[in-house]
């Protein structure tokens, strides 16, 4: 079937990235993009979806398009601005991914946290699931990703991931300026960061 193969290939490349979109998380956001790109994977996120009434439907379709998903549950505290509420988007999207896997076994999902054992309290339904602890650090994110993904050949080192991260960090202001964005959590900036990471990853691959 000619149309199935590209779709399956796209699924194998795509990783649904479920992370908080706030300024305190910016470094880890770049670290996730750099780390996943180093493994030859393509991050996908709800950032790509324009705000509309059919948002939930499109989130479901995006999750379905991805072979894997990474859920960072490190932002469980109350929002700083009034009304002060916890952020439910990330656990909700984790639930969608879990149900996706339960019904058609198509997606593998992984959970990351900053603090050990906190998720046992905040989301005890996950008891018995391996939760990767990154400690809120860039290197912790790289270690968590290296714990989840293994390449059969050319396994990327933490140094390579960090090199990609530095390129993203250095070029972020220019990418945001070009996109006319004030923060990195927009569709255009997200896609541009993925292209920047891919360009650097391919350059590192060429240079050995």
């Amino acid at each position: 079937m000619p149309q199935r193969e590209p779709q399956r290939r796209r699924e194998r490349y795509s990783v649904f990235l479920n992370v908080p979109y706030d300024s305190a998380f910016e470094n880890l956001y770049l670290a996730y993009i750099a780390g996943l790109s180093a493994f030859g994977l393509i991050p996908r996120a709800t950032l790509e979806i324009p705000t509309s009434q059919r948002r939930l439907e499109r989130i479901l379709r995006l999750i379905e398009e991805c072979g894997y998903s990474i859920h960072d549950l490190s932002r469980v505290q109350l929002d700083g601005r009034a009304p002060r509420v916890p952020r439910f988007n990330m656990p909700f999207e984790l639930g969608l991914a879990v149900s996706q896997n339960a019904f058609n076994r198509r997606q593998r999902w992984y959970v990351c946290e900053a603090v050990q054992y906190r998720v046992n309290k905040s989301l005890s339904d996950l008891d018995g699931t391996d939760v990767r602890i990154h400690g809120g650090t860039i290197r912790g994110v790289f270690a968590a990703l290296a714990d989840v993904f293994v390449r059969k050949n050319r396994q990327p080192s933490a140094q390579k991931m960090y090199q990609i991260y530095l390129v993203l960090r250095r070029n972020l202001p220019r990418i945001m300026r070009q996109a006319g964005a004030r923060h990195p959590y927009g569709a255009r900036v997200f896609q541009d960061l993925i292209f920047a990471a891919r360009t650097e990853q391919l350059r590192l691959l060429r240079n050995g």
Partner: protein, 65 residues
């Protein structure tokens, strides 16, 4: 849930990345140019430093002579 994922697919090209994201390859090439510009400007800065250093060296040499 398995602990690891073994990736066997080859590294995606920029074109495949653009296709997966559902955007034009031109956007990827624009970013390539942005990254290239960064490198060029660093080279230009280095050349500028080199030219300035050589100019001062030449001036010092002419004073000695």
């Amino acid at each position: 849930m398995s602990r690891h994922v073994t990736i066997e697919t080859p590294f995606p090209t920029l074109e495949e990345t653009a296709h997966t994201l559902g955007v034009s390859v031109a956007q990827a090439h624009r970013i390539q140019r942005i990254l290239g510009e960064g490198k060029r400007s660093r080279r230009v800065k280095a050349n500028g430093r080199l030219r300035r250093a050589s100019r001062y060296a030449a001036k010092r040499a002419s004073k000695k002579a």
